[in-house]
Amino acid sequence: MKYQSQSIARLYFIAAIALFIGQILFGVTMGLQYVWGDFLFPAIPFNVARMVHTNLLIVWLLFGFMGAAYYLIPEESERELFAPWLAKLMFWIFLVAGALTILGYLLVPYATLAEMTMDDLLPTMGREFLEQPTITKIGIVIVALAFLFNIGMTILTGRKTVINLVLLTGLTGLAVFFLFAFYVPDNLVLDKYFWWFVVHLWVEGVWELIMASMLAYVLIKVTGVDREVIEKWLYIIIAMALISGLVGTGHHFFWIGTPDYWQWLGSIFSALEPIPFFMMTLFAFNVVNKRRRNHPNKAAVLWALGTAVMAFLGAGVWGFLHTLAPVNFYTHGTQITAAHGHMAFYGAYVMVNLTVISYAMPIIRGKQANNERAQVIEMWSFWLMTVSMVFITLFLTGAGILQVYLQRYSEAPLPFIVVQEKLALFYWLREFAGLVFLVGLILYVYSFFAKGKEVEIVEDLDMKKAVTS
């Protein structure tokens, strides 16, 4: 670790992983509720568990992004963080606000939470994923502004690289698009437009910039490949992500009362959205093949490659599966969407966060990489989580196809709830895969504490060649 202030990332990473555990606990809870409807009822009804599951995901990913930014931006900018104290203060504000919000979801009925937080003054509650009370949303904006100010000043007064500028652009976009969460038109169609301007433009727009720059940073560090090569890839990837992703928002506007040209725009542009992810896969493998050193942190390299592959599968392939309007006519809002959502979020954003944490955490703790045994455990956690996520996705896809057929395609369509009962086997299998995922996550956390033989320092392949030839 070159700069003292990079260590602030540690706080963010620990909080991120803690919230991740919470997210998965609620995930397996609601997974069970799919087949055992009154499990934990009335304490934690399904709708609350779902809200907590998705909100924790978003919050922990944000913690991860911020931690990654605080770690990599001082190093890229070649200076200490502009205001380390501000980063620490914002951490505690964000954590307390986040914790209070989740407790609010769990302890009081949602309507009471709205009353307690005076939602009537500026009503923003009640929209999926953006359920946070208005005061929490204002808190998020304050934290985001302070965060952007802090990293922005660090970059502006330090070295500017493609990586830190792309990251800054992505994070600025993240903050700007969140502002649409404050605008809730009475017209339900307009309301959905603005809702998607947050949700879609985050995950299929600016977050891709954040992800690509985080991945590029780790790849530079673990492979020693020239920055210029990596930067060129980064340019192409973000250009493609933006071209396809921005107009690709249209794939959410097919059936919500919007003009029908969205079926064309949405289908054409979102059909191209897999391309930047495919480029990212090529990029990661190409760079690792051309590596000029064998970094001792093999687990981090595995995570980086895994991110590229799983993001392409989850976001790219599973997204394309149901993005064309004629297909989506049948699949809209079924378990196929859930399958795509799970693998895309895991493959792209969960894994890129784990990649950075896996790379940076040992360095923050004063060593180049975790010891060998810890890395073996971490790689086990990688495979357990990744393979179980593949199975979750496959089971949900199976459930989705059956659901589409029984509920929407067959000669005699059945009602939603009747179909749900017929999907029980898939849900049980998914729940089992979810438990395996939880085991993988526990192993991941344990790997940071596992004792073992310390690893050697960086091995430079160029040097090795020079010596042996």
Binding site: V225, D226, E228, V229, K232, W233, Y235, I236, A239, M240, I243, S244, P259, D260, Y261, W264, L265, I268, F269, A271, L272, I275, M279, L282, F283, N286, V287, K290
Partner: protein
């Protein structure tokens, strides 16, 4: 640069310091390889859109024929000439920089941008006409395609001009010469793509019946 697999040979892109050395070798593609990935992506988007147009036209031949007549062919033809002319000046700019004539390169690029501006003005007048008649994306399928295809191209003309401007700025800073002008070729390649798309788009939407 004769690479069997361009994608995997990404790292063999000449860096700015290397460019000067290998400039004499015959290259597969002019300009930076990265722009060709971008151009390929752009052409793919337009190709899919043109295909969608063709399929929809086949299903609604009469509607498309009827409303195609309402388009301003003269304005479209004039715009085609404007873009082709601007591409000619971009070529002259590349030739100028290869002969080490920085000043001539910059002037030719300015003229090219000028013709690009002419295109945007003429196209805006066309849009003004259509919009003032109350025509929009939802009027019918033909206008939906006409507006979205030409508007998408319109934005590409703007982006192409931004790129040419960036080349002008760097040329003014003395960054290009006979031995190092990858940037000029890169900008030129993109501009030709914008031109090429229009040359397909114009007959497809305005003329072919």
């Amino acid at each position: 640069m004769a690479c069997p697999n361009t994608v995997l040979c990404m790292s063999s892109i000449p860096t700015s310091s290397e460019t000067a050395v290998i400039e004499n070798e015959p290259k597969l593609l002019p300009g930076d390889l990265a722009i060709w990935f971008f151009i390929f992506m752009e052409l793919l988007v337009f190709a899919i859109a043109f295909l969608a147009y063709a399929i929809m036209r086949a299903q609604h031949v009469e509607l498309f024929n009827q409303y195609q007549l309402t388009l301003n062919k003269e304005s479209g033809a004039a715009n085609t000439i404007l873009l082709i002319t601007s591409s000619y000046f971009v070529i002259r700019a590349v030739h100028a920089i290869r002969a080490d004539q920085v000043k001539a390169c910059i002037n030719n690029l300015y003229i090219a941008v000028g013709f690009g501006t002419g295109f945007l003005l003429l196209k805006s007048l066309e849009y003004y006409d259509k919009f003032s008649e109350g025509i929009g994306m939802s009027t019918n399928t033909f206008y939906m395609f006409y507006l979205s295809l030409t508007l998408f191209h319109f934005f590409h003309v703007i982006l192409g001009m931004v790129i040419l401007f960036a080349v002008i700025i760097k040329a003014k800073q003395g960054k290009y010469s006979a031995s190092n002008h990858t940037g000029v070729e890169t900008g030129a390649s993109y501009w030709h793509m914008v031109d090429l798309v229009w040359i397909i788009l114009f007959p497809l939407v305005y003329i072919i019946r």
